[in-house]
Subunit: 202 residues, 2 copies
């Protein structure tokens, strides 16, 4: 019976995560309401707080799923690439595809904040490493002259540069690229950064 | 008398902009309240709506001031630089300084949104061009092989790449750089991008 109870709780949690994911995908993080999530999951409002700590932790669970999907698709993208330049181009192109196809969920990864004084759980922070792990070996191949510590920082910088271009463009910001130029310009940025890395490694 | 009335209205508007700027600098855009702004400006709550359309348009006025200050400091930064690489390095370094010294006001430039269905006024959209105008001549010097249209897009891409690294680091995001590495890593990114640009222009 205790087992059955655990199963029911796990089932409720899974339904709540799926409902929150669908709500964010439809209306964005800013429009997320506990009542809409529980209505979609088919449970009482109070049930949310028995399954997860609160709405913020439910968003963390959604972001955890998004990161897992993003990590899997990035790994798949680079699998067929020969050499570091082709791999980094494939990663950047797939990153754009994922961001465009999952716009609201992808924005949620970078816009969700916890109330003042609360920290994200460590297990969740570590999940973001998937964004850097896929870049690391290719950067190391391009810059064999850099130390392990320098490569860790350079991986973050490389990710943030590509991410910044995608982010400003998808937000429709004044200084962002028009969407129709995004793919070609990110490809040009990766081409420029890899050509520069090769020149500096000599 | 009509003149006196205009002067009073302009004075009230200036006080409201200064108050909103101080409130955003102290508490961030998310914490901005009309009541706190008017209290700081020393006027009645209703006076806000006679001086500007609403709180959103007051934020636009604050962002307009921030852009003017940012544009001035960027122009000053590149004035002493000899050659496009040194100029782009000086611009990126000054951009970081400005973002760190004016964190909340700088974030406000990129995070303020109008309610669904409303557009920013054109005069304000055009003010963001200052961020791209300072980059353009140096990029053109590095890539004389690119057309004018290609250079416009590449300027946006170059800005967004540097901005993305600064943004993720200053937000304290999981994948962002630690603040103490930000200056060196942005310098390395600009070095890599300019070395790559020079290699590709050959």
């Amino acid at each position: 019976m205790g087992h059955n109870r655990d199963e029911k709780k796990a089932d409720l949690k899974a339904r709540l995560i799926a409902a929150a994911e669908a709500e964010i995908a439809d209306h964005g993080l800013a429009g997320l309401k506990a009542r809409a999530v529980t209505a979609r999951a088919g449970c009482a409002l109070g049930a949310l707080y028995t399954a997860v700590e609160d709405l913020d932790m439910l968003v963390v669970e959604v972001n955890s799923r998004t990161l897992a999907r993003l990590g899997a698709t990035l790994s798949e993208a680079m699998a067929g690439a020969s050499g570091p330049v082709a791999a980094l181009q494939a990663l950047a192109a797939r990153y754009i595809d994922f961001a465009m196809e999952n716009r609201a969920l992808w924005l949620c990864l970078f816009e969700h904040r916890l109330p003042e004084g609360r920290d994200f759980p460590d297990w969740h922070r570590q999940e973001y490493a998937v964004l850097l792990a896929v870049i690391a070996p290719h950067l190391a191949a391009l810059r064999p002259d850099l130390s392990r510590e320098a490569l860790v920082l350079r991986g973050r910088t490389t990710f943030a540069a590509v991410h910044g271009v995608v982010h400003l463009a998808l937000q429709g910001r004044f200084v962002g690229l028009p969407p129709e130029s995004l793919r070609a310009e990110v490809a040009a940025l990766v081409e420029t950064m890899t050509a520069g890395a090769a020149a500096l490694a000599r």
